[in-house]
Symmetry: C2
Subunit: 473 residues, 2 copies
């Protein structure tokens, strides 16, 4: 199908020159995902300035049967915002809709448009002594709409939940151009099931998020970051339970990495110092925070928690940050795992979850299996142990052409990892979403009842199948 | 339509004598809701013993076009579990499915069947030094399945959220008899939107909840209950903000009532003592809790919080519980508001929410309006200020026949209250659900886009319309 000239003329007339372009140069950066893994074509790129303009565009698309691929910061991990090769679809940028409509400091919430960049949001609420407790590597480009559509995670999910838990209200344009408007943040509302949940994590396939009311927290008054060396991933899990028990809600993060990851990081960051004197099989990074109400006793509580951990033989060694600079230095080690791993060579990457209590056994059992089946590979797991979510990288053997190896073996390795995750009751996508990357795997491994529900709801809300076709469903 | 003999024979054969009855005496208590407001008929009452038995029954119902009315403890507030008068439907009791399948103390979660009674759940997890942080008046009969289907609330929503926030996993039988099984509690799972949300709060119209995995919290180690006298509902809201700021996550409840309510309670409970010496326009009950990690400093923190509240002139007077007995005595006053109000005479009751910050103005503006439009009435608001949710009772004037008055005026008053709530951006059902009670009002006042989404999803998941017909949608 070729997009009709009539449609393009009508769209241009309604959106104006800033709102619609067919200029190949302007469109090009947005037709490939940031990691360069997916590329596509579009008949045009629309950048509406308001929900009303977008609703008009969607009605026009519905009338002409034009598919719509919504896009925020183009920083997704699964190709969910890249159109296909046909050029039939219109690429919909939400980036112009970037107004922070309202910050209510008393009620601790912010209402902002889909195109607001995460870092901009962080800075705007910090000025009011508040914080939005979700952050991730792509914060300089990721937008609120994209974060909601993918139910983004990050390193603070342990305490605050993923994006879903932070969305109080939502506005979206549906497939027929109607505007779903539930921005009013009622703490209690029992008029049927929570409709906005249909739009969170559905990757733009059920509707296009245009604005949201989000939950804010009091600013952090102080934090302590602890680096602990432990004997195994199982020991890390015991330490996690201990910290949950003793720190309660103050426990903000619990990340893990094996010694090999830390060594790669130290090689990648030549000026960084190892946090502990000796090496340890596994390392945990633990963040404990306090707001104004609890800051006075924070250090004392952390010391008590770690003293008890030593008494119970849960740690081999530990260092506690004594300054914000040191806290940041510890976090920098964690945040450098991904780039350091990339430096080590090509790897087949997975973003998986299993129930938290099964994670140590899962890694201990499956890593040697994979390494035996693909000789020379190394299976490395690191990340959000507190959420039962690790990034599971299978590093290429030392071959002359790692990229060629990745191309030949990648699919089979991923199938094997996903099979194992499914056997262990886990998810093949913990936080990165399905997009186009894992759509076949979802069909292959997803629960048939869940898939049929997903399809039934999709057909009900988007009978023409125009919203982000080829993604998720 | 008369239910076919074939259907009843087949159902009896599959469910056995304990699983199906047509005995009028056995069925009778369950054909009227506990408040005696709704009565209906059923062709039979089914009590399957397992999810597999229920799935078989549902397939049979689908084949014969027999409507199904699911029921837990029959303690709902909106007639959601009472069948209609035709006798076409089968009444489905989930009460036999009452096994607690597993309590994982480390992971702090419980998996139990739909028929488990809330109080039984409380007691089972208390034995493991944990608690399930949702409770309400009907806890001796309300079941887990009913609580999920209605997204139940209660007095601890402020900190822990309503039922929705506590459901980690779900199992349900869908309209075609397929079993949706997502009990595995993954903390992170981004395979599309969160399907289980379709079943939470949808009152049995999208599927029948058969089991759930629920979140548990550490047992409370200590609590302090504060009774505060304040000058207005606006002052109560300022005090709430102060407490949220100073107590953080330890703030478990913030309930309010006007002086008239307290007086009615003291009359209703002749042996109860007024918590404060003088009378005050409004009263707030504040609960602050601590688990083991924070118990040591609880009292001190509460004293600091209230001293600061006095300094800032936020309270007129306050009393802090010094024993568990006194904490209970304060709560007894709160819990006696509903029976004390019933003693005062007939009232037209509403369960409404508006954004928390608007609640003082809402009550102050609308109460005099209602009282002027229906001379002799008294508009009383009490309840969960922290959630922006009050029970709003319009008490009958002193007339000879209050019940007749209620019958004549009730509907018009409710329409007026619901119009006002809608104008103020609130919900006509904060925690009691829609059921049959508010279905017409939802159609009249609900957002047309939201209603059309609700209907589209309903049609997609239950095309024959057999699941709890006449409720919600």
């Amino acid at each position: 199908m070729t997009t009709s000239t009539q449609f393009l003329e009508d769209a241009a007339a309604r959106l104006g020159p800033r709102g619609l372009t067919r200029d190949a140069e302007l469109m090009s950066p947005w037709l490939t995902d940031w990691r360069g893994r997916y590329s596509g074509q579009a008949c045009a790129m629309a950048s509406p300035a308001s929900t009303a303009e977008l609703a008009e565009l969607v009605r026009l698309c519905a009338a002409h049967g034009v598919p719509i691929v919504p896009q925020g910061g183009n920083s997704g991990m699964s190709g969910g915002a890249t159109p296909d090769e046909t050029g039939d679809a219109i690429l919909l940028s939400l980036r112009r809709m970037n107004t922070i409509r309202d910050i209510d400091a008393d009620a601790r919430r912010v209402t902002c448009e889909a195109g607001v960049v995460l870092q901009t949001l962080h800075e705007a609420v910090e000025e009011k002594d508040l914080r939005f407790p979700l952050t991730l590597g792509g914060k300089g480009s990721a937008t609120v709409g994209g974060l909601i559509s993918t139910n983004a995670g990050g390193c603070q999910v342990l305490r605050h939940g993923s994006m879903r838990a932070l969305v109080l209200g939502l506005e979206a344009v549906l497939a027929d151009g109607q505007v779903f408007s539930m921005l009013t943040p009622l703490k209690k509302d029992n008029r049927g099931f929570d409709l906005k949940q249909l739009l969170i994590g559905s990757e733009g396939t059920m509707g296009i998020v245009t604005a949201a009311t989000l939950k804010l927290m009091p600013a952090i008054a102080d934090r302590v970051v602890i680096w602990a060396g432990v004997s195994s991933l199982g020991a890390a899990r015991s330490l996690l339970l201990h910290c949950e028990d003793m720190a309660g809600d103050a426990l903000e993060g619990f990340e893990v990495m094996p010694q090999a990851c830390l060594e790669a990081v130290l090689k990648h960051l030549p000026s960084a110092r190892p946090p502990l004197v000796e090496s340890h099989p596994w390392h945990a990074l633990i963040e404990v925070v306090a707001d104004r109400s609890s800051a006075a006793t924070l250090r004392e509580r952390c010391e008590g928690m770690m003293a008890a951990a030593f008494d119970k033989d849960l740690v081999e060694d530990a260092a506690m940050s004594t300054s914000e600079a040191q806290a940041e230095a510890f976090w920098l080690l964690r945040e450098s795992v991904a780039p350091a791993e990339r430096e080590r060579g090509p790897a087949v990457q997975h973003d998986i979850s299993v129930p938290v209590e099964k994670m140590p056994d899962f890694v201990q059992t499956t890593a040697p299996m994979i390494e035996a089946e693909w000789p020379g590979t190394e299976a490395v797991a690191f990340g959000h142990l507190g959420d039962g979510n690790v990034h599971y990288h299978i590093i290429a053997p030392h071959v002359t052409d790692g990229l060629a190896w990745q191309k030949t073996e990648g699919k089979a390795i991923s199938r094997r990892v996903h099979d194992l995750v499914t056997e262990w009751g886990g998810s093949i996508s913990a936080e990165h979403g399905i997009g186009q990357l894992k759509r076949d795997e979802l069909v292959r491994l997803g629960d048939p009842v869940a898939l049929s529900m997903l399809r039934a709801v999709k057909n009900a809300l988007d009978p023409q199948g125009l919203l982000n076709p080829g993604k998720l469903v």
